[in-house]
Assembly symmetry: D3
């Protein structure tokens, strides 16, 4: 039985990366995973957090912010700034994005700078946090290339690519890369963050107010690893095509 | 002597409208005025502010929010939500956008609903508040069309189109539609908000810590009225082409 | 047909300035424009905003805060501090007051200091923002005189006087200096900020959810310029009488 | 040895009450105790706090807010609204003012309304909290008279007058009604709130980071009771003169 | 090679539960896991969140709050209330506690009530979030017993016990139940939340800015499952002993 | 007629001090006064408030924070951090605790450090602020002993012990050390803070929306002084027993 959008259980949604979506950023990309679209940006700030100034080893920092634009959902979502504080879910997600990227970045190589990752969801259809991580890694790679070009860095601090994908159990079936309707019906929701060489960065499985078994966990891990492999390949293609073809900021063109 | 981007003093920057940039919104558009790009959205909320509930005449409301995305500027701009409050300039701008749109919307025709305008600056190169108003009017028009199509409205509450443009005096020369570098050097900065039939909605001229003369004011008014006429024509073209050609959400394609 | 308070269309409300209303301030005045009364104060702080410290040209700053006292309106107005944030209208007004004063103050002459303007509305009957600007200019002038007397300044940084007035269209009639009832019924509301030598500092006309024509704009400008001239004369009289008669801070003497 | 302003140890500063300082308030007064000046207002809100709605006995409430205007001190005091929260000292003082007034007001007679007391310090020279209580009682009395006149109340809910005064020990000498310089040097600071019939409402003595003896306490109590008697007499005179002479709100007339 | 506190790699720290630590709570316990000590409380509020009121299925809710007391760490930790907002880590942890408990509670059986879990860390030595979950389950069980006793519930909504434990890799060695020093040196940190019948509720493994391999993951899972079994046994003993021996709330008796 | 818990009018509730309740704190104690239980902690921070840095006399500071844990009351109390601000009552109490302790501490002897007092109410049954002061003095004494032992201080900055007790008038009877039910019915509530040598630190009597007479005041003072004497004796015993018997931090041992 096919999934609600015709995919097979182990099939990713189409993924695409449109580089340079925000030309004032050092590196930016619009990542589209099916109908989920996230603007990802990576910018350098020439400062580090106060608490780092007292560390022995001088080095940089990487921080991430995540936000859903108010029109990303079918019912308008109130802005955090209008509420005066960031909601708990966003806090959790931006901490996850930050940890995931820091796992593959050599902060010492950055120097006393902060790499600021921003992920703004333009359209939400499930998997916004995993798309954010996957896109942020591409944005960071593009930013680093520009910094090397400008002689601000001599060597890339990105040790390897990192990507993320969701897996879940829907109506008893383990499935890869859930869209919103699947996510809503899932009895388990799991996010895998992995590197190009097959190492884990984060494993977050949650029974969503239910529980799950060890065999479900195993099936989800298998699906997830398959998906990560394909995402890493897509990231690589996007990064190399952006660098080769677009010395100048490219326009904002979507795949037909 | 030509301007820093080769334009004549009375020449607008190229303006374009990409409809349906945020497909979950009722009506949305990416407006590009030169290098200034703003995502404009118009969504309906089925409620009205508390203070309206005690008004005699039942009717709707229109509200606007404006924000600069952190990567819209060459130095990353801190998010309002991270600061816990909206900065003074954004408050002023979103109040202006709201007033400008309400001047051309028949709120009684809306019914007890709120039309929520959102303007998020993707790239800032001067004139973000005027581009926001001009784009928001297109987004609102697209939203109203969809609401009429869905029989939620029987008649458009938009009485006429509204557009906005900046004018200023730079090195003694009155100029239309200032970009960021011109804006920084301007001795006067003025924003005109006008309707399709040539009425004024807002006139906001500020000496930017300096003063200006009556003849400078007159010259700026003349330039501004010329620009508004061209913007209204561009809005009309965008609205009619979006409705005619794109029954389905169009992709995000930029003018070459 | 006379106005609701018997004035002619081109007639200001009686304006008066009571100096030294807050003797601990460097310069203060209670300005009364009809029934609108605002306490205006100008005090020096021996510091400048952080962002100025990195500017090339060393110099001072001028900042303004505006607030309505809770008993200034017929229904008690909640304090901003009780809400935890300043409301949007107040933000807009205090930014306007600051810009208006900075347009006539030579900040470099101030030295590395901040001139802090405070405007607290004691009674609100329309035109509180224009009365605030007009009064703040007098308060600042008195403060500067005292600083010169104390040898903290050698030369006045106030290049010329600035005053503000509202104009509007009520029942089709252009009118000068609207009171609250007129303001509520106005189809256009405009604030003019001008200097003693007839230059413009700010022109802010708003259709108040309606639109207005070019001829209405012209009629309002004419009324406004007449009003500004009279206000500047009243400011001059107040400043010279305060300086002449009260070398020492006058006490706050109320009718027995 | 006389005090720094020539008073005897058991002598109050001159106290005066200027009624109707804020004509939009139901009842208002400017109280001056020496150089300490506080605007006191009492206004009715036609609502009660949420927590009262579940009380068995229907009745009203009385609440108080206290604030120092930024120009009330010789060094400008930052506004609470600019900090986003009310400082601890103000919280403590406004709770004291509220308790003191509620001790003499029959809340049941108020009906389901809130009597809102506001105290804004225009000039601070010691004793601002006691002047606020003394002035607030006069403002509340004037407000109640107006409500009775308007038939909104049939009987005054104010059971008797309440006044407050500070006493302290300065250089070993017990003194009444300390000014700022005395307060700064005091080894004990005590505030007495008492009623017209000699009952206590609040007794707050604090060693100000020091301690005090029982005999010092006794001496301060004696001074305080004397002062309260004089303050109650001054309140009575102010209330009866305001009512007799000013059936209509008096204007705010300043010396020409 | 033994661990820094002499334990074997697969050995839990001593765990103990002191019931009724906060006698005003419906159910409370002090959980001690080695030197980590957390006060856990479960109280009923007779209301549900607003967003639940529109749900079709009537039922209850369970919410959790987590906080570190300022003296729980060797350097005093600033209170969230002093900062005006809850820090990101606490937000993440209290969301985890809430999800974990909701996975084993039948919210429909609760009726339209909220079960409020509070976890306050008295002493922090690693594993505060897992101790919080383990202790909260005991507190909730004691609360439910009391509600059944009082006939407020007829049947326990707790479907089975839930416990949590940390596992990690320290110096290449997988270890169970890390203390603070081990946690600081760990290259992987993982939290397992599991039920009495061996199902998973949450699996959260994080490379702590590093990555980990599939075999490390497998080793940690094995250790974690062993630990969970022992924790569930300890919870059972604590619950049955608390119910048998202490029909009345036990006092808080400390060593003489 | 005996009191609701069988005590005589001049009888304290049983008071006990459990030292080292929070072993990571420099000095801590759980104080129990009847059913009121408060965790009191004293920790050193190696910094002083900014405003002290400009003082002539170098020296330390002492600050206090007070909070009710959400499960300290029979109806769960919302956390301040969830509301985003500290409630007025807590602000008032923590200011009182700070002033009371500073009255007996020689801040100059502390050096440029801050002694941070924390009082968290575990169970509230009246008199939480007085128990907090009494317990905080013991916690501070234990902290100072440890600092002297560690050679961080050469001499104790605690000049003498300070204790606090409530007194009140309930049904016309003056009573010592009110519990919650008595406090709720009291017509007067008074808190006395006194030192070991019989000096006053704070006297705070409040008619709780009523008034009280001079003879009631005298009777309460007599009761209070008796209670303070007993509390100081209990503090002394607790401090000397804690120091004698527990050279090492005692563990937190609960009944088996």
């Amino acid at each position: 039985m096919p999934r609600n959008d015709g995919r097979k259980n182990d099939q990713l949604r189409p993924i695409s990366f449109t580089p340079n979506i925000a030309p004032h950023s050092t590196g930016s990309v619009l990542v589209a995973a099916g109908n989920t679209r996230v603007i990802c940006s990576a910018m350098i700030e020439e400062s580090i957090p106060n608490w780092m100034k007292f560390q022995k080893v001088p080095g940089g920092w990487l921080t991430a912010e995540y936000s859903m634009l108010p029109y990303s959902t079918l019912e308008r979502k109130q802005r955090d700034s209008a509420k005066g504080r960031i909601d708990g879910r966003s806090v959790e997600i931006q901490r996850l994005i930050g940890r995931s990227l820091r796992a593959v970045v050599d902060l010492d190589l950055l120097g006393p700078r902060t790499l600021c990752i921003d992920c703004d969801v333009l359209q939400a259809d499930g998997g916004t946090r995993t798309a954010s991580i996957t896109g942020a890694c591409v944005a960071a790679s593009l930013a680093v290339e520009k910094l090397i070009e400008k002689k601000l860095l001599t060597k890339s601090p990105i040790k390897q690519l990192v990507a993320a994908v969701s897996v879940g159990v829907v109506n008893g079936e383990p499935m890869l890369d859930l869209n919103y309707l699947e996510d809503k019906d899932a009895s388990v929701d799991m996010n895998l963050v992995m590197t190009a060489n097959g190492q884990f960065v984060e494993v977050q499985g949650s029974g969503e107010e239910q529980t799950f078994s060890e065999s479900e966990l195993a099936a989800m891990m298998t699906l997830g690893k398959k998906g990560i492999g394909e995402l890493i390949a897509a990231q690589r293609a996007a990064i190399s095509s952006a660098s080769a073809e677009t010395p100048e900021p490219v326009g904002l063109v979507f795949p037909s």
